[in-house]
């Protein structure tokens, strides 16, 4: 005997209009679900999540600019997610391993109803997704990252690694410096370091990760430490072990 509960507020994210329309059609027949937004790409999805705070996201995996997993990394586990994909063997394996719900295109209304029931029980238990573990299983290791994604409230900045000058640690955040601009991202410096090319980014100090292509020279500073001077004149501290790592690379 379930009581009349409030409607589940859902957002549909898919770059294909037809794929969105089929979900819209199926969900229109469900009195317990309300579609509050439709998004054609990952940027819109992050904005919708921030501004509308939905309960549930139908998230396509193959999308331009930001794929489904990148959206997931950016929004973390604040929303329940049902993944939607046509065919992606890596993603499917990850879903099986982490017992995550997904819909395979093409799907019917019955299969969607099962997924919704499971999502409702998850919402009741407030169970969240193991985001990091899921993303790392879903992506075949493809070498160092080419870009860093930063969420700034409803907006997403894409910082290409080529344009990244240096990164500064700030408590639980990192501050990415690129072309004179600074972007704050919720990640530890150690975590970020593992995703970047070790032949290019060196930990010159406990709090600084440097793109060696920007380094102009290193000068002594005080009696025991050094300072790195970048091509644009920025000065960054270099610790003793940082200097050892730097000399080893150069």
């Amino acid at each position: 005997m379930s009581e009349q509960t409030t409607k589940i507020r859902a957002v549909i994210v898919d770059d294909e209009e037809l794929a969105r329309s089929v979900l819209r059609e199926f969900l229109a027949g469900r009195p317990d679900v309300e579609v509050v937004a439709e998004c054609a790409n990952g940027f819109e999805a992050v904005r919708a999540v921030t501004e509308l705070k939905p309960d549930l996201l139908f998230l396509d995996i193959q999308m331009p600019k930001l794929d489904g997993f990148e959206v997931l990394e950016l929004i973390g586990s604040e929303v329940a997610v049902i993944f939607v994909t046509a065919y992606d063997e890596f993603a499917l394996r990850a879903f099986e391993v982490h017992a995550v719900d997904y819909l395979l295109k093409p799907f019917g209304a019955e299969r969607l109803a099962e997924s919704l029931d499971r999502a409702k029980s998850r919402l009741g238990r407030r169970a969240s997704l193991p985001v990091k573990a899921l993303v790392s299983t879903a992506r075949p290791k493809e070498g160092p990252a080419q870009r860093v994604l930063v969420r700034d409230g409803p907006r997403v900045h894409v910082v290409p690694v080529d344009k990244l000058d240096y990164v500064q640690a700030q408590d639980d955040y990192v501050c990415l410096h690129s072309e004179g601009k600074a972007f704050l991202k919720e990640q530890t410096l150690a975590e970020l370091e593992t995703t970047l090319d070790p032949g290019r980014f060196v930990r010159i100090h406990r709090s600084y990760l440097l793109n060696v292509e920007r380094l102009a020279r290193v000068e002594p500073y005080g009696k025991d430490s050094r300072v790195a001077i970048l091509a644009d004149g920025t000065r960054l501290p270099v610790s003793r072990s940082g200097y050892a790592r730097l000399s080893e690379l150069l």
């Binding site: 770059d15 794929a19 089929v22 600019k65 046509a86 065919y87 992606d88 799907f107 493809e142």
Partner: protein
């Protein structure tokens, strides 16, 4: 490794022939009143067998002096020098053995045999070494030609495999599932469009299967297949995908390998336009150039696209097939900039 030492059966045959040589030699030096054949056998056969092993060293001479690469004089010096040294060794060895045997009463005259037939035995030693060298050259040549045959066969298999792979990869499951999903969506909103999509997809599948079984097809058929594919993708992507077609009259008659253009067009959509939020254009060009057909597929792409190593597989397959079918006469050129990707194929013109 020496081809005779590598295999037991060959080594057996090789030593048996040396045994025969020893026997013949014994009968050559046996004289009535002097040495009997039996005595000569005991003196000569063991030494001959040992010399057989020594002659295996001619393999190194063959390796160091490949027949094709060297002049006649260096061949003569190398082989001549080696055979004189080897034969000298064989004579010394024989004399030592004879001296040892002289302790046995019936063979006390063994050293005398060597003293008497020294020149003859030395000459025979040289000739035997030269003969062994010739045998080694033959064996090496036979082995090389077998290896070449095997390599050619392997290459053929590789080419065939590359072709099969392209055919298998032809109908991408991702594409199929997405099409079915689009049809499912249209069934509710626009049944006529759903039916049209079913027909398009059916035609596309039928044609790819049919063309896949053929070797060469008129370019017009290949072009029609690619256009059908783009039409289907236009249903999925809607206004995000536009097509620009610049095809010269008369190019359709050129015979081309089946399903060569198709993967390029597919790449342009899946790795190009589908990554653009606002979509883009796929440009298809075909024109007759001097003595050949030039086909190009060009698309806009995302300048921030992550570099994925997978994108090269389709192109590599096309490249392999071109190499297998035309050798150096066809070319595939890729022009890649931040926002544009262009693949150009040049094939020699072939009539029906």
């Amino acid at each position: 490794m020496n081809p005779f030492l590598a295999r037991g059966d060959r080594l057996g045959l090789y030593l048996a022939s040396w045994l025969a040589v020893g026997g013949l030699l014994a009968s050559a030096v046996a004289r009535p009143g002097g040495f009997t054949w039996g005595q000569a056998l005991v003196v000569l056969v063991p030494v001959t067998l040992v010399y057989g092993f020594v002659c295996l060293s001619s393999w190194y001479v063959c390796r160091a002096t490949p027949l094709r690469a060297r002049s006649g004089s260096s061949l003569l010096t190398n082989i001549g020098g080696a055979s004189i040294v080897a034969s000298g060794f064989w004579l010394l060895l024989g004399q030592g053995w004879a001296r040892l045997l002289s302790g046995v009463p019936a063979l006390d005259a063994a050293p005398a045999l060597y003293a008497r037939d020294r020149v003859l035995l030395f000459t025979v030693g040289v000739l035997l070494y030269v003969l062994a060298t010739a045998v080694h050259y033959t064996v090496i040549a036979v082995e090389q030609s077998r290896a070449a045959e095997r390599r050619a066969l392997e290459l053929q298999l590789l080419a065939r495999e590359a072709e099969l792979k392209t055919l298998r990869a032809q109908i991408d499951p991702h594409f199929l599932f997405n099409c079915l999903h689009s049809i499912s969506a249209l069934t509710g909103s626009d049944p006529a469009a759903a039916r049209r999509m079913c027909l398009l997809l059916g035609e596309f599948l039928r044609t790819s299967v049919k063309l896949g079984a053929q070797d060469r097809i008129p370019f017009s058929e290949e072009l029609a297949l690619a256009e059908r594919y783009l039409e289907i993708e236009r249903v999925r992507f809607g206004p995000r995908l536009t097509i620009d077609r610049v095809v010269e009259d008369g190019v359709g008659a050129c015979a081309v390998p089946a399903l060569l253009l198709q993967p390029l067009v597919e790449n342009a959509v899946t790795h190009g336009v589908s990554h653009l939020v606002d979509g883009g254009t796929v440009r298809l060009e075909a024109r007759r150039t001097d003595g050949g057909l030039t086909v190009a597929v060009e698309n806009r792409c995302d300048p921030d696209r992550p570099k994925r190593p997978r994108t090269g597989v389709g192109l590599q397959n096309v490249r392999k097939r071109l190499a297998a079918q035309y050798g150096g006469e066809a070319a595939l050129r890729v022009d890649e900039s931040a926002e544009r990707f262009r693949v150009e194929l040049r094939l020699p013109w072939a009539g029906e």
